[in-house]
Amino acid sequence: MVLFEEIRPTRGELIAVKRRIILSERAHAVLKRKLDGLMLELVSRLPEARAAEDALFEELVRAQEELAVATMMVGELGVLIAAESIEEGPFLFVSSTNAFGTLLPSFSLERAKKNLEDRGYSLLGTTPVIDDVVSAYEHLILGIVRAAEVDASLRLLAAEVARTRRRVRALEHRVLPELREVRRMIELRREELDIEEHARLFQAKRIRANREAESTRRPADAPIEGSPSCAHRGR
């Protein structure tokens, strides 16, 4: 809320307010365009997110099924022993991409899918059920990373959309109307001041003109030395 009493109705203030209005209008237009862009980006990523989520769910179900079968066939101990044999896990590389000023994460997983000989467990000491469960979990971890990337991007985009919308609305419904009101008040006040100034000047001019007229009239009307009117004034 702007306190109008605090506003100085000066020309400088009016210029400053006008500049702020122009800046706010420009910011509003830019932010509105950004909001539209963000919304488009968000909407375009939604099917991708849904697909990643569905794929993740399928991979999870498959991995759980394979794990259940593996646990049935070689026991939890067998699965644990095979799991302990893994010598090297996958590497996660995180980078970012810029979407309308928002940094979105980009994950890439290396060495997630390995050849049989790189997995670390022995061929003769394990059974094919271990291969299948490892393969299922390799796909699952890729699915998790993909879904995490899409999900994080969506969350960041949604947060940015909310923040931008809040700014646009603030500009639209609060900042700009207030500034325009301030400008109107200053203009009105300045108009009043102008009228007052004008009136004062007019008055002053009239007084001055009267005085001048009076002073020009005096020499003609002045009494002759020794006349009764002059004697009366001197008394």
Binding site: Q64, L67, A68, V69, T71, M72, M73, G75, E76, L77, L80, I81, E84, S85, E87, E88, N115, L116, E117, D118, R119, G120, Y121, S122, L123, L124, G125, T127, P128, V129, D131, D132, S135
Partner: protein, 372 residues
């Protein structure tokens, strides 16, 4: 070499005892009943059996703690194996102990990997199944060793010691543990085949059975290598000593057209076995080798491993073959090995029932994973 025909009394005693023990293994109807129980009822039904009571009630505390139940079952298996090992005399003992070396390999690799990755010693100890030449005291010494070098030192005197000497505290090339484990298994089969051909009772039959087992193992691994590796080294991965030559597997590995695959596969003894397995699995005697060949080709073509339930059916047939040979050679090492395998399968079946129930798998599907 001619097989011995005169049986020492101890052989007859041991084989008869084990035949008797075999009759006490859970019957197929027990598994049917088990599959209609809830998880706590299952555990109680297993624990109520005299053979399992001690281990199950000693280790299993809460219904959700199924790893404890699994540990109890493996502890029972280890006790049973050691019992059999103590019972067997002379050459029978030698063959049995060599047959059980596969458990030593599992245990040694768990300790080596555990030490390398700095696992909790208690956790390592829990995972072990002391069913072979390395007893619990020896394994405890391995676990208590400070580092990998000390573990390898402690293994001095173990029959497969020279294969693990490359394991060291220093930087090891990636995949060295897997290579060591594979070398151990190669040596394991070599030793068994050598001992089998020394003229011990049932040795020749055991060798024949081992060749059969190696063929199945090699074929299964051939599918795995094709599925999991773009350029596999077939020659070094295959176990030597099977009735199918390694060159045959190398040739099959390079096949990319259906007709050649089918022809090559038909030349091996494995197609009739796979056909019998499929007939058993689907309870359809009308299934022919062509259909099985078609199925195997589709898996081969898609670079996938073999179907697990078919593997289970093949295991069933393998055990049936062993039982048949054991019945033919009643006082040899075969009844002993037949009992040991059946015992392992019994534990596997109980585990499959319990775990299948835990994961909410339908009974019909669990039943397909049981070797009965």
């Amino acid at each position: 070499m001619v097989e011995q025909t005169v049986m020492p009394g101890a052989y007859i005693y041991v084989c008869t005892r084990l035949q008797l023990r075999k009759t006490r293994l859970f019957s197929p109807s027990f598994y049917d009943r088990l599959l209609h129980m809830s998880l706590p009822q299952m555990v109680r039904a297993i624990g109520e059996d005299d053979r399992f009571r001690h281990e199950v009630y000693d280790r299993y505390r809460t219904p959700s703690d199924l790893i404890r139940l699994e540990l109890a079952l493996t502890a029972h298996l280890a006790r049973e194996y050691r019992d059999v090992l103590e019972m067997t005399p002379g050459a029978l003992h030698l063959l049995t102990s060599h047959y059980l070396h596969r458990w030593d390999i599992v245990n040694v690799m768990v300790v080596l990997r555990g030490k390398r990755h700095g696992l909790d010693p208690e956790k390592i100890a829990e995972t072990l199944v002391p069913a072979g030449e390395l007893d619990r005291a020896w394994l405890d010494r391995l676990i208590a060793a400070d580092d990998l070098d000390r573990v390898v030192e402690e293994l001095h005197g173990w029959s497969l010691y020279h294969q693990v000497r490359s394991c060291t505290c220093r930087e090891m090339p990636r995949g060295e543990f897997a290579r060591v484990e594979d070398r151990l298994y190669h040596q394991y089969y070599r030793d068994l085949l050598t001992i089998g051909s020394r003229g011990v009772p049932g040795g020749q039959v055991l060798t024949r059975y081992l060749r059969f087992e190696i063929d199945i193992l090699n074929m299964r691994n051939l599918f795995r290598l094709r599925a999991g590796s773009p350029d596999p080294d077939i020659r070094s991965a295959m176990v030597q000593g099977g009735s199918i030559a390694i060159e045959e597997f190398v040739r099959i590995a390079s096949i990319e057209d259906k007709e050649t695959f089918f022809n090559e596969f038909a030349e091996t003894d494995l197609l009739p076995l796979a056909t019998r397995a499929m007939r058993k699995l689907r309870r359809d005697p009308g299934i022919g080798p062509e259909q099985v060949g078609e199925m195997l080709w589709s898996r081969w073509h898609e670079h996938r491993t073999t179907v697990h339930v078919v593997e289970v059916a093949v295991t069933e047939l393998r055990l049936e073959e062993m039982d048949r040979l054991a019945a033919l050679h009643r006082f040899s090492v075969l009844p002993v090995l037949s009992y040991l395998e059946r015992k392992r399968v019994e534990i596997g079946n109980l585990r499959a029932c319990v775990r299948g129930r835990q994961f909410g798998i339908p009974n019909e599907r669990i039943a397909r994973y049981l070797v009965v």
